[in-house]
Structure formats: structure tokens, C-alpha cells
Amino acid sequence: MLSESDIGAIVLTLKLAGTTTALLLVLGTPLAWWLARTQSRWKNPVAVVVALPLVLPPTVLGFYLLLLMGPNGPVGKLTQALGIGLLPFSFTGLVVASVLYSMPFVVQPLQNAFEAVHESLLEAAATLRASPLDTFRHVVLPLARSGFATAAILGFAHTVGEFGVVLMVGGNIPNETRVMSVQIYDHVEALRYDNAHWLAASMVLFSLVVLWALYSKRAPGAFRV
């Protein structure tokens, strides 16, 4: 059965994934919109940086984040000066790392969805007295709805599944940074296979449900109400 510390790890994981997804939707929407519409020469460099976590080993990302946010890193100095303290080995640090790590999984589906909204509809809205913000709210958002669903599901699921970054940046503090994947690792290290099974199986189930949701959303007609 699940132990108390297992439950703690699950709750912490959901909290981390939820916070990260919410932040990513807020930050990723304007970024994805800019990437979808801009003709700036900065478009590709920015897109590359956003996509970097797709190819980097998570430990590499975690390693640099640890240095950046550590006592001698620029971010660490800033957070100390602001009285926030140091971010590594804290829940906040995990959120920061997860946001960067899961960024492409949210930004890219949003960008694709925004690019699919044809410029001609935005022009039509402008000739019907809708301001750019009004157009975004009432034309772009409804048309990109399925992109938002995909982005949220992928961002959430990817954060739940992360291990390397968490271990590097968060360590293994119960109820603070010990998420499910780390907990499973601990169980296996201590040869507590029974406990590992329970958590691992629930992760498999979770992943199946998420993928099922994604794939059924792509079924024909699913975009219409």
C-alpha cells in the first residue's frame, strides 16, 4: 500500500505540476503568440532557447540552474538581496526549474494553435471594431482552445515525469522537494520493491489516462462543440 510519505510525494508532485502548468500557461501564451506572429530576427534564437530542454539531458539543465541559483550565482545573489533566500532545495526552486524544463511542451502546442488562426480572421475582427486584445480574447482563444488543452496536458504530464532536474535542483527533502519519481528511486535503492510497485503502477496509469485524453481529443469532430 501507499505509505504516508508516498502520499506526501504524490501531493507534492501534483502541487508542483499544477503550479508549473498554471505559470507556463500565463507566461507561455504571450511568448507563443509572439513566436507565432513576429517577423523579428529574434524569432529563431528565442525559439531555439525555448526548445533547448527538449534535447538537453535534464541533469545538464539542473546543473546550470544549481549554479545560477546557488549562493555565488547571479540569480542566487539577486534572490538573497531581495530577502527571498536561496532557491535550490526548495519548492520555489523546483517550480522555477520545472517551468524552464517544461516550457517547450507548453509553448510549442500554443504556437502551433496560434499559427493556425489565419491572419485574415484577425483583420476581419479589426474591421468589425474589435481591438487587438478583444480579438485575442474572442477570436484567437476560442479557435486555439484545443491547443491550450494540449499544452496544459503536456506541460502537466511532463512536469510529473521529471526526475533529473528535480534531483539536481531540489534534492530529496520530504514534503518540500521529494516528488514521486524521486520517491520511487528511493524505494528501489532501499530494495522496497513493494512500495516502488505501488507508485510506479500509479504513474503508468496516470500516463495512460493523459495520453488517452490527448489522443481522443484529436478524434474527428472533437474540436467542435
Partner: protein, 358 residues
């Protein structure tokens, strides 16, 4: 022009194309921007709407829309735009599309009611449908109704019929004519189709290579000796007529023109109503005497204004004064010599075919 509505001095340069216009357009009536594909008429319309930004100044009545420092964005200009493609919002049904612009106009600025627009464009039965389930013609009617429902001070239309098949075109033209006669909204209408131009225009702006070649009343430009319209294969004159009476027995109608009466195909217009006829130059021949023994029933006295060369070396274009209106006749040079035609001469125009446009 003191009563100018739009006053545009705009310039825009692309790689191979430049637009440069200084244009004053009337504040009422149907203005057609006419020219070949690529002459810049659509670009000009987009610049007027603020969808594209040109250099220069743009003024609507007393309001500045654009100069070196200011640029009023499209959504703050009291205009509406009908695009070549309907551009209906796919996530809204027809009613939602109609309400989109309507809701964004303050109540006290609404001059066109929802029911009015729905009825004018005959979209009652479509309200609950999704755009993708409509035919091309239906979509464009919805788009026109949607544009009207913002109660625009000026309506811009960019080849609204160009993407439609012939049946849908013929389906929509009457609605456009109804707009012209029922609504006191100036319309700027872009087209490269001579028949649409002839049917709809009151004021005509002729564009060539990004410049305005000429502008003026429709028939003045159609029959202007220095303009290319006169030499097109379908060179024609468009004159206003009044329906006089109908002849149900022969299924014909008689309409009054400045110089007499014309017989046209039977129509449903009540006597006294005004319409226009298009007379193609190739359908007009010239006789020295009124003809009574001919199957051509339309024969009107007129006076030769001048005779000019045509693209075809065998033919000439004769401009005729028909009670103050100018009509065109394309005949052979040989006929001119045989009949001894010369300017100032009184002759009879035999008109083989007249199309009443409504």
C-alpha cells in the same frame, strides 16, 4: 471637391510595385475602383482601412485617420470591410458572426437594426447554421450583413464576388444594388470585372500601375476618348432610364431614355422606377434614315460627336450624342466612308441588344 468624403494622399513601395495616389472620393454613392489585377486597387483599399500602412495622409470627412505622426488603427475607424473571401468566424454560428460587429458598436450609433440586415440579405433561415455548412454565396451574404451591422459610415468592398461562381454572383448582385438604392452609406467597391463596374458604379476611379488614371461619373469615363475603356472589346455606355410601360403580350418592356424610348426584355420593375441600361458599342450600328423594315426595334436619333480609331484597324469607334448622354458604336471604317459619316451629323443608332441592369 468640397464635399469629399475620403481624401487620401498615399504612397507605398514594394519591390516591383509602387502605389501613389492623391484621391478625393465622394461622401455618398457607389464608387468603383476599377483596374486590372495587380494595379494596386486592393492595396489602396487596405490602406484606406488601415489594414496596411502607407506613407502619407488620409482623412475621412473632418477626421484625420493618418498622417506622418498619427495612425488610427482599423478598429477605431467607423468603416466596414467586405473581403474577397467571406472570412466568417468558424467558431461562431451565423448569428454569432452577425452579432460580432453589432455588439461592439454603442447602441446610440447603431443605425442598422439586426432584423433589417437579416431581411435585406435574406439570411433568416441561416442564423443557426455554422459557416462551413453554407454555400459560397450564402457566406458572402452573411459577411455583407455582418459588415453592415456595425452601421459603418463608409463600406469598403474588395471584389466580394470574385471568389464566387456565376450563379452565386447573380444571386448577390441584386443585394448590392439594393444597398445602393436603400442605404445612405458611401461604398468603395474594388473590382476588375467590367460587368460589375457597369452595373454598380456611380463614380468610377480608373487605376493603372498603382496610379489613378482618371476618375469621374461612370458614363463620362466609359465613353472618354482618351481612356482605354473605350477600346476594350466590351466597350459600352451605361445610361440611366425610367421604366415607362410593359407589354405582356410580346413579353417586352419599354423604358424612357433622354432621346426617346428603348425596348428591353420584360421585367418586373414598376412603371416610373429608375434603372440603367448598358449598351455595348458592338451592338450599335448606324443608319442615315430611321429603319422601319428591320428586326431591330431600337432605333434612336442621335448626333455624331466624333469618330476615332479602334484597336482593330478595320473598325472605328463613333461617339454619339443621345439626348445629352453619350453612347458608343463600333462599326467598320468602310461603313464610315460609304455612309459619309462625319462629326455633327444627325444619324440613327440601331441598337441590337440592350440589357437592363437590375
Amino acid at each position: 471637391m468640397s464635399d469629399a468624403g475620403l481624401h487620401a494622399q498615399l504612397a507605398l513601395a514594394f519591390d516591383k510595385f509602387s502605389l501613389q495616389v492623391d484621391l478625393q472620393l465622394p461622401r455618398s454613392g457607389f464608387t468603383v475602383l476599377f483596374g486590372r489585377s495587380g494595379c494596386g486597387k486592393t492595396t489602396l483599399l487596405r490602406c484606406l482601412a488601415g489594414l496596411q500602412r502607407a506613407q502619407g495622409t488620409l482623412r475621412w470627412k473632418d477626421t484625420l485617420w493618418q498622417d506622418e505622426r498619427h495612425f488610427v488603427p482599423t478598429h477605431l475607424r467607423p468603416l466596414s470591410y467586405v473581403f474577397q473571401e467571406p472570412r466568417l468566424f468558424p467558431h461562431l454560428d451565423v448569428k454569432g458572426n452577425l452579432e460580432f460587429g453589432f455588439r461592439r458598436v454603442p447602441g446610440n450609433e447603431r443605425r442598422i437594426r439586426m432584423e433589417e440586415a437579416i431581411q435585406w440579405l435574406g439570411v433568416e433561415s441561416l442564423l443557426q447554421q455554422r459557416p462551413e455548412s453554407l454555400s459560397g454565396g450564402q457566406r458572402q451574404r452573411v459577411a455583407i450583413a455582418r459588415a453592415l451591422l456595425t452601421s459603418p459610415q463608409i463600406l469598403l468592398m474588395d471584389e466580394p464576388l470574385a471568389s464566387l461562381d456565376l450563379d452565386s454572383k447573380l444571386d448577390i448582385l441584386p443585394y448590392l444594388e439594393k444597398l445602393r438604392s436603400h442605404l445612405d452609406i458611401p461604398v468603395i467597391y474594388v473590382t476588375h470585372a467590367p460587368d460589375e463596374m457597369a452595373r454598380l458604379a456611380e463614380h468610377l476611379v480608373l487605376m493603372e500601375n498603382g496610379r489613378v488614371r482618371a476618375q469621374g461619373q461612370l458614363n463620362d469615363l466609359l465613353t472618354h476618348i482618351d481612356l482605354p475603356l473605350l477600346h476594350q472589346l466590351d466597350a459600352s455606355a451605361v445610361i440611366n432610364v425610367t421604366v415607362d410601360h410593359h407589354d405582356p403580350h410580346y413579353h417586352l418592356s419599354h423604358v424612357a431614355v433622354p432621346g426617346g424610348f428603348l425596348t428591353v426584355a420584360y421585367n418586373e420593375l414598376p412603371a416610373g422606377s429608375r434603372s440603367r441600361v448598358r449598351i455595348l458599342a458592338r451592338d450599335v450600328s448606324i443608319a442615315l434614315e430611321p429603319t422601319h423594315h428591320s428586326s431591330i426595334s431600337n432605333c434612336l436619333p442621335c448626333c455624331i460627336i466624333d469618330i476615332s480609331e479602334d484597336r482593330d484597324p478595320a473598325r472605328v469607334i463613333v461617339r454619339l450624342n443621345l439626348g445629352g448622354e453619350v453612347i458608343l458604336s463600333r462599326i467598320t471604317r468602310r461603313s464610315v466612308d460609304m455612309l459619309g459619316l462625319h462629326p455633327g451629323q444627325l444619324v440613327y443608332a440601331q441598337i441590337k441588344a440592350v440589357a437592363l441592369m437590375n
